[in-house]
């Protein structure tokens, strides 16, 4: 806006430098994941590509990575569903109905507090609670916690989408005999679908990425992908190839969503932070 046209080549230069810095670590990992160990260790640029790391990751005898992928998918999927239901209902109720000031005030501050405190402060009591409820080492337990930590941002995003709707639409639905639930499901939900898509994508990705709770609330057969990768890294036996392959597999949803739903991601991230 303020920099003259003739300098635009310099802007492109700086931003391309940024793009390269962003991409090099990923390319380096991707390339390592299709190298034999000897090529990784030698740091050679010319090598014979191989899929042996992926094979070992998924199909070797002690491999459990396919299990981790299934766990991550299940947890992320059900987290997304429950966040969508809970957050949409709550956001609608808070946004469109009269609530006393102190209730919205306290609820708002509590949601904000939940969003800003480090997860590690709650993981202790939640762990003890889950041990006694049988939710420890249980996919349901992780799903519930992931739902909780994704609620604040989702509620804010959905609220701001509802704010943009003119209330005359719901009003006429009510006059036509729709009822509150009816006008919510038939009028509001379809109209805020783009917002719900943004929330769904971000919740899925954040649940897929979450590490701290997954680390402490799961063990062997319920571990998610990040937990499995961390285990790889801690083993003394060096398995760089498989580590790279696993890291690459873990980034796939992010890349897919980036191409499919870039607009929603940008909107969701911006609204979730700046609202």
């Amino acid at each position: 806006m303020i920099i003259p046209r003739r300098w635009h080549w310099a802007i492109h230069l700086v931003l391309i430098l940024g793009v390269i810095t962003t991409l090099v670590p990923f390319l380096f990992t991707m390339i390592n994941s299709i190298k034999f160990f000897k090529d990784i260790a030698a740091g050679s640029l010319i090598f014979e590509p191989t899929l042996v790391n992926y094979e070992r990751l998924f199909f070797s005898k002690q491999a459990s990575f396919h299990k981790n992928v299934t766990n991550s998918l299940l947890i992320a999927f059900f987290t997304t569903i429950s966040v969508l239901v809970i957050a949409t209902l709550a956001a609608y109720s808070l946004e469109r109905f009269k609530w006393s000031r102190w209730l919205t005030g306290i609820l708002g501050s509590w949601i904000l507090l939940l969003h800003i405190i480090p997860g590690v402060t709650l993981v202790g009591p939640i762990y003890l609670m889950f041990r006694s409820l049988g939710l420890y080492n249980n996919l349901l337990g992780v799903t519930l916690v992931h739902t909780l930590i994704n609620l604040p941002m989702s509620i804010w995003v959905i609220q701001s989408f509802i704010q943009e709707l003119p209330c005359e639409l719901e009003e006429s639905a009510l006059i036509d005999g729709c009822g509150y639930l009816g006008s919510f499901i038939r009028i509001v939900v379809p109209l805020i679908a783009p917002g719900l898509a943004a929330v769904a994508v971000l919740t899925f990705v954040f649940s897929w990425n979450e590490f701290l709770y997954a680390l402490n609330l799961t063990s062997m057969n319920t571990a998610t992908i990040p937990v499995a990768i961390a285990k790889f890294a801690q083993q003394y036996e060096i398995r760089y190839g498989e580590m790279s392959a696993a890291a690459f597999v873990a980034t796939i949803p992010a890349l897919v969503f980036l191409f499919v739903a870039q607009r929603q991601i940008v909107k969701g991230l911006t609204l979730g932070a700046l609202k």
Binding site: I2, F97, G179, L212, T251
Partner: protein
């Protein structure tokens, strides 16, 4: 955060209650606003209010497992005394503060500059934004893995570059003097895109007229930046700053993978330390006490920060 503000009563204000409900019992439907909120309240109660109340109970107890059963003993201020003599926690607090100040400053400045540059482009800023979003969406653990391989002594790309330039190879994360720097570098790489994204959205939503007026009045680029863009962008900058500060304080994943808090206590941060107290030392009571201290510190920061902003904007 608009959630704290009272919400206008739009539907009830402008619409009558339906009198001819057929498909859904009217009594239930008229209570819609209550039961729509119940799932959220239940989630908050069970997984955040009860755990925080538990923290207070645990923080003043000794808690341990015996034959799979949790045992509690009230131990008064024992955890408080442990806390007073705990040097590692103060080191962790110091490291975290250092980490937050350095990473957030770099991220804010570079993110802002990049956004400012990109906002000048009529075409192509979409492409840059697409690529730069990638790190935000990728698991922090995968990023830790990626950088761990980059920092590798034998084949990491950084040592290859050093070798190429003719400098001695470094041990990076294993070097006490470099470890913190390595972690900071990863965090900066990870989160500049986030600042960039928010700043770009902020700049793009600014009205164009003041900028044009400044140009007509013959303001230099520097003057336009300082007296027009930055003041108009102030709310975005302040919110981004607060969120980045708070999230940088939470740092866990990358540290866990890159250094594990080492060498020694060089990269020990608050989240790592509390996690260690809980799940490696099994000192549940003391971990709860430290959690309470951490929550109090963060709440204090947010309150002071907001008060500071308000006092500045009134002046």
């Amino acid at each position: 955060m608009a959630t704290g503000q009272p919400t206008a009563d739009k539907t009830q204000g402008c619409a009558p209650t339906p009198h001819w409900q057929k498909t859904f019992p009217q009594q239930v439907d008229s209570l819609f606003k209550y039961w729509a909120l119940i799932p959220l309240l239940l989630m908050l109660l069970v997984f955040s209010i009860i755990p925080i109340l538990q923290l207070f109970r645990m923080g003043f107890s000794t808690v341990f497992f015996e034959e799979g059963q949790v045992k509690w003993f009230f131990s008064g201020l024992d955890n408080y005394y442990t806390f007073l003599s705990d040097e590692v926690f103060s080191i962790a607090l110091y490291n975290t503060t250092l980490f937050v100040v350095v990473t957030v400053s770099i991220e804010m400045i570079l993110g802002f500059i990049l956004a400012l540059l990109a906002s000048n482009l009529r075409r192509g800023s979409g492409f840059y934004r697409t690529i730069l979003i990638i790190p935000i969406l990728v698991p922090a653990i995968a990023i830790g893995t990626v950088w761990r391989l980059m920092y590798n002594y034998d084949f990491g790309i950084l040592n290859q570059i050093l070798k190429f330039v003719g400098l001695p190879a470094q041990t990076w994360v294993a070097d006490p003097n470099l470890a913190m720097l390595c972690v900071i570098l990863v965090d900066v790489w990870h989160w500049i895109p986030f600042v960039f994204l928010l700043m770009l959205a902020g700049i793009e939503s600014l009205p164009i007229e003041p900028l044009e007026a400044a140009q007509v009045d013959g303001a230099s680029i520097w003057q336009t930046l300082c007296y027009v863009i930055v003041p108009m962008l102030r709310p975005t900058i302040l919110v981004t700053l607060m969120f980045r500060t708070i999230f940088a304080f939470k740092v866990f994943d990358e540290v866990y993978l890159l250094t594990g808090g080492g060498p020694g206590t060089r990269t020990e941060v608050v989240s790592m330390f509390i996690n260690r107290v809980y799940f490696q030392q099994f000192r549940w009571g003391y971990g709860a006490f430290l959690s309470l201290v951490t929550i109090a510190l963060i709440a204090l920061f947010v309150i002071l920060y907001n008060r500071f902003i308000k006092s500045r904007s009134l002046a």
